[in-house]
């Protein structure tokens, strides 16, 4: 059942269009991420759900009620900010209990709920500390507890992990997902980090220049990108300019080498590009697969991955291979053959 619905949302700032014809239905308990580069309109959309911005046109529905012009303090929507936004003059317990105090709950009710929330984020021992006495990760967990304490209908998170270092980010990411699933709360998460979006979300909305490029599960977004933007923005992808040889069978030509695409639409004389992820490429020749040969340009060690860039018919092709001892890593300047399954590549 649709819990949160955004219908034909449009937002302009003067002559600048920030969000254009945004349509989305979010189910109860679903975790949806808005993913896109800076300035794509993802935060503006989130702020419209929170009530901090008014849409130029369109409707926002929550639980079947029109929320478009409801002030932010009447929406019962929890929000977690990138900058934590904890109240500096209040202790952790006071911060978490603030929304309940505003709602007029009794001291005993507030104390019980605060205890419950601090237990949820495993920070019971920090109840009497002030925000400046906490680390960034701890502050963000308190901010999460504060947003959840009021039992919001929807939880909104605006790049909550951006200000944290990589290790804490990973820990907190798992914690956010655990808490979200434990409470079953509908969540909208804004990020420009594709890894965050892929690992956390039930569905991802990829945005670019105020428009939705694609809505799908992480697998759909990664494996079946609908547009060139999605293919390039989410993960790394090889895009090679190819010429169509047999339109009905998806056979194309890169220089003198023939390739068969697993997915392709209606092909005409327009130039097309072959898309294939670096991890789909394997070194060596394989019968029944697409095979390409070229020359190694560079080899880069990335820890568990070795990234090889090779030149094929005047174009650069990247392949990632696991750093396994049994593999012989080619050297720059050597000839190399690679293969990839037909179904692992498609035409854009």
């Amino acid at each position: 059942m649709t819990h949160l619905e955004l219908i034909h949302i449009h937002k302009s700032f003067g002559s600048t269009v920030a969000v254009e014809d945004f349509n989305l239905s979010v189910r109860q308990g679903e975790f949806v991420s808005f993913l896109g580069p800076s300035g794509c309109g993802k935060t503006t959309t989130l702020r419209m759900i929170a009530g901090f911005e008014l849409p130029s046109s369109g409707t926002i529905m929550l639980d079947g009620k029109d929320l478009t012009y409801t002030p932010p303090n009447k929406r019962n929507v929890g929000m977690v900010f990138q900058s934590y936004a904890l109240f500096p003059h209040m202790t952790v317990a006071q911060n978490v209990g603030y929304g309940l105090k505003i709602a007029g709950q009794s001291k005993s009710q507030i104390a019980a709920r605060v205890e419950e929330m601090l237990s949820l984020i495993q920070m019971e021992a920090f109840a009497n500390r002030y925000p400046h006495q906490l680390s960034g990760g701890q502050q963000q967990r308190v901010a999460l507890a504060r947003a959840l304490a009021i039992r919001p209908k929807v939880l909104l998170l605006d790049e909550p992990l951006s200000a944290l270092d990589a290790k804490i980010r990973l820990e907190l990411r798992q914690e956010i997902r655990r808490i979200q699933q434990q409470l079953g709360i509908t969540t909208v998460y804004v990020t420009h980090d594709q890894e965050e979006a892929l690992s956390l979300s039930d569905r991802i909305v990829v945005m670019n220049q105020g428009k939705i490029e694609q809505i799908g599960t992480p697998t759909e977004i990664y494996n079946e990108p609908a547009t060139e933007f999605v293919a390039q923005f989410v993960g790394y992808i090889n895009l090679l300019p190819v010429k169509v040889v047999t339109p009905s069978e998806g056979v194309v030509r890169l220089g003198n080498q023939l390739i068969r695409a697993g997915r392709f639409g209606h092909l005409n004389d327009k130039p097309v590009r072959l898309a294939v992820r670096p991890e789909e490429l394997k070194s060596g020749f394989a019968e029944g697969a697409n095979n390409l040969s070229g020359r190694v340009e560079s080899v880069t060690y990335l820890g568990s991955i070795i990234r090889i860039r090779m030149e094929v018919e005047g174009h650069l092709l990247t392949l990632d291979m696991f750093n396994e001892r049994r593999f012989t890593v080619p050297k720059a300047g050597e000839s190399l053959s690679v293969h990839f399954p037909i179904e692992a590549c498609w035409l854009l």
Binding site: N73, H89, H132
Partner: protein
Amino acid sequence: MNTKRVNWWAIFWGILAILYFFLPMYGTLDFSLRMKRGEISLMAYEIVFSDPRFWEGFRYSTIMALITIAVSALIFVPTVYWMHLKVPQARPLVELVTILPFIIPPIVYVFGLIRTFSRPPLQLTRTPFTTDILIVTGYVVISMPYMFRAVDAGMRAIDVRSLTEAAQSLGSNWFQVLAYVIIPNLRIAILSGALICFATVMGELILASFLVRPALGPYMALLGLTKAYEPAALAIISYALTWFSLGLIQLVSRGGTAQQLTGR
């Protein structure tokens, strides 16, 4: 071995600045203590403190200062808050307006006030009470640069937008946002502004003189015309008041570090 070079020029200018400031003060203090020929005494201070006009002026100026502080805080806290939140582009204009009391001579300002409010439709100089209203508005304008800057500096130290939005998302209306979140984080800034306001009003002369109110400033000026030692004692008392205010600012500022304010 300590290889740090001594900057003699810095020391020279430092000593010169100290002498420039403290020498006249020492002279005034010394003079104020020599009322009794040939001995050091507090006689001038005793005379000042036993003068009912001093206490009347002191009481009047204190009350006016407190009202000025309250009115200034009520005007500037919401105004600066709104400017930070909704119209940050208006900052240059607001800053220009707030430094006008430094540009326009007080005498011109007072004549403007008297000309405007001593005749209908809004004749405020008719009774002492309405004149007091006029003088408070004047004091608010005169102390505007200090109050505005203090509050503005306080607002800059906190993330006004995020705190406001966080409070709103937790159910707060505008009044609750200001009362429970913004003002508690500005208390040091407001107190700093208030103390400078207090010192300014306590020593103000022109407004009170021309509006004929029994403030401390005119009393000091009048005493200076007829007496020798008592004005010196009053000047030292006035210095002490200002320094006491500044000391209080330092004391309360120590209670809230930048870390506490920003919460980061």
